[in-house]
Symmetry: C2
DNA sequence: CGTATTATTGATTTGTCTCAAAAAGTGTGG
DNA sequence: CCACACTTTTTGAGACAAATCAATAATACG
């Protein structure tokens, strides 16, 4: 059985009563998956709430002809599938681990019960949901007005939490084809666009390692058409 | 002063007590704008909650170089700017009327007070927010995998609420350049893509009037790459 | 070590944007 | 009702970005 501490480490459950924690503790399950495990598709029943302890997952949609769009990549301390508290309707996405991953799952019914008896949680979920919306709107805008290399640049800025502006070393967190798909382009395009960006903004490439001479150069190039200064407010997941 | 009925016609406020309705009634204002009025930008203070009685507005983001992305087009009975209950931070969008429009505004502080004392409202907002997210994800997917004419086709399916499948007459609700921008393309591309779609799916064009021989033809063409059958679940605004 | 996976490169095609100009549609005042 | 200006839409030619298909190179892995 999971510890109470593990449950209350989930941000939205941080202020629960001992009784509520005990309840969730009883219905919680922990899962260990290796890389590449398809552990969730939306038609499965009963519905569950997912929380990532360690690792990373991609949420993606697949069309009949096999093409796949990655909706989101989530890692440590993120939750998903919370929207099932309102509907059991199929929403067509699946989830696959990108690296070895530890998850907590909670039956959605139990989560719903807790949410309904504690309005603070609804407010926290609402706040998070607004942030996700904000981010989706931004991605939308970028798909419309930015080129492939600018989207990559924006992504680099997001994962680059260095205080320094100069001579920053960075490692791409996942395989390039995953990042390509996340950014709405083909792997070939990603390869070429990253090369183009690296030349334009003085980035040295070495496999999945990047050496950025000056972050400001990327900002300048990426944000030419932005409606918003970087960093944007309210990015809920890093990527 | 607005009637209590007007306030309670706002879906999220339908179950308020008389006292709460009176409170909102006192702080509510009604506004009349003609077409093309820029009545909201996110830097304005104090923040307000907006509800559309009649008419239509576009929410859009504008970048430094003047290019504009339409985030959403909202009409009768839709609300927006509700996310300001959590932050006074600037979120960079503006709102302009597309036709003569009647709005109710409520100071966001008052709305926040009501939400915090009535958890049912938070849950309704949450449910709506999930739907908006779902829709944004879908738009994202379409920008990535669909061509311009397919996106137009999808849009036609959405605004076409006819029971009949054959010989449906349809009027485009707004100017073509607005629809183009909403669908993430230039006006010229819209013009050409609509023509292409019309030939492929047997649609007769006459200004902003369309005669669709058979809706199924559009579905077939549009949903080739869809991860989801049409109509999608949970579209909160028509467009 | 060889095999499978992932990434890059090249040549070509497709889709969309850009800029310019013409056409169609809308509204106004004489 | 027409002439005029103004806006919106369409059309054309050309440039550019990204997808596609195919082949090669690099890397990871048992």
């Amino acid at each position: 059985m999971l510890s109470k501490q593990a449950i209350s480490s989930i941000a939205i459950f941080k202020d629960l009563t001992t009784k509520q924690l005990t309840y969730l503790q009883k219905i919680a399950k922990i899962h260990h998956y290796k890389k590449g495990a398809l552990f969730f598709n939306s038609s499965q029943f009963p519905k569950k709430f997912f929380y990532i302890l360690t690792g990373a997952v991609k949420l993606f949609r697949e069309s009949l002809d096999g093409s796949e769009v990655i909706i989101s990549i989530l890692d440590n301390r993120h939750y998903f599938a919370e929207s099932f508290i309102f509907s059991t309707a199929e929403t067509p996405y699946q989830a696959k681990t990108l690296v070895p991953t530890q998850l907590i799952t909670l039956p959605i019914k139990g989560v719903k019960k807790i949410i309904y008896e504690n309005s603070q949680i609804a407010l926290m979920l609402l706040k998070d949901s607004f942030k996700v919306r904000q981010q989706l709107i931004q991605e939308n805008e970028h798909l419309i007005i930015q080129t492939a290399d600018q989207r990559i640049g924006y992504f680099l800025l997001k994962i680059c939490n260095s205080k320094n502006k100069k001579n920053v070393q960075l490692r791409l967190p996942y395989e390039k084809n995953i990042l390509a798909s996340r950014l709405g382009m083909k792997a070939e395009t990603f390869s070429r666009a990253l090369l183009k960006l690296s030349k334009r903004c003085h980035i040295q490439l070495k496999g999945n390692l990047l050496f950025i001479s000056n972050i400001e150069e990327i900002k300048l190039y990426v944000c030419q058409k932005c409606s918003q200064r970087f960093p944007s407010v309210g990015a809920i997941s890093k990527i």
